[in-house]
Amino acid sequence: MSTLHTVNKSPFEKTSLAACLEHVSAGAAVLLLEDGVYAALTRTSVEGQVKSALDNVKVYALGPDLQARGLLEERVIPGISVVDYAGFVDLAAEHDKVQAWL
């Protein structure tokens, strides 16, 4: 099945992104939201981890959360798509289920 995984915690504070990426199946998607969007930035200590994930899964970041945190889209890792809440709903509908990594 195709799953939308959601990660809402900073990869510098919690291990939930790492745990998620170790359990995603090919064809899955990962949506970064809330403090999870920090993982979408370039030049961070987790950039390599996120870039590797892009080989297997699609990665999305929630635009409103990027904007709130002062993160410009030009700082987002190429290959990560920015979506709004309507896009989040679309992703939830397009995939067979949503799995939250709290």
Binding site: D96, Q99, A100
Partner: protein, 136 residues
């Protein structure tokens, strides 16, 4: 039930007592057992700590809910998946966990193990196969 049976996965990734998620998650499992769905429990990351033996909570003044896991078999919850890598990273083995069983009606009530030790790759496949994931 006339409806399609769904494959429910309860995803337990948090340690007990530090937060209430483990306990309130177990409450959902017990209530949910009455709904005749296909239920699996996954213990991953710090969730594996929920199943440790010898929990004694009197000094922290909290209810010890760990005996409730042993009752899962009575609720027809038989599929308890524990991730091997999560155990190893935490210095644990199956011997450190409770021994959970269920009785198989079809085999003269033979007692069978509920806990299945699975690799991370197998756990990923279990997650992939679920219809609904409850996260706490």
């Amino acid at each position: 039930m006339s409806e399609t049976i769904k494959n429910f996965l309860y995803l337990n990734r948090k340690a007990p007592y530090g937060t209430i998620y483990a306990w309130e998650s177990l409450e959902v499992v017990l209530i949910g057992a009455a709904f005749d769905q296909d239920v699996s429990l996954a213990f991953v990351d710090d969730g594996v700590f929920q199943l440790t033996k010898n929990q004694h909570t009197s000094a922290v003044g909290m209810k010890n809910f760990s005996p409730t896991y042993a009752a899962l078999g009575d609720y027809e919850v038989k599929k308890v998946f524990v991730e091997k890598e999560s155990l190893e990273e935490r210095g644990l083995s199956l011997d450190d966990l409770q021994h959970l069983t269920w009785e198989d009606e079809d085999e003269d009530w033979a007692e069978k193990d509920s806990i299945h030790l699975v690799t991370r790759a197998e756990m990923a496949a279990i997650m992939d196969g679920a219809d609904v994931v409850f996260s706490f």
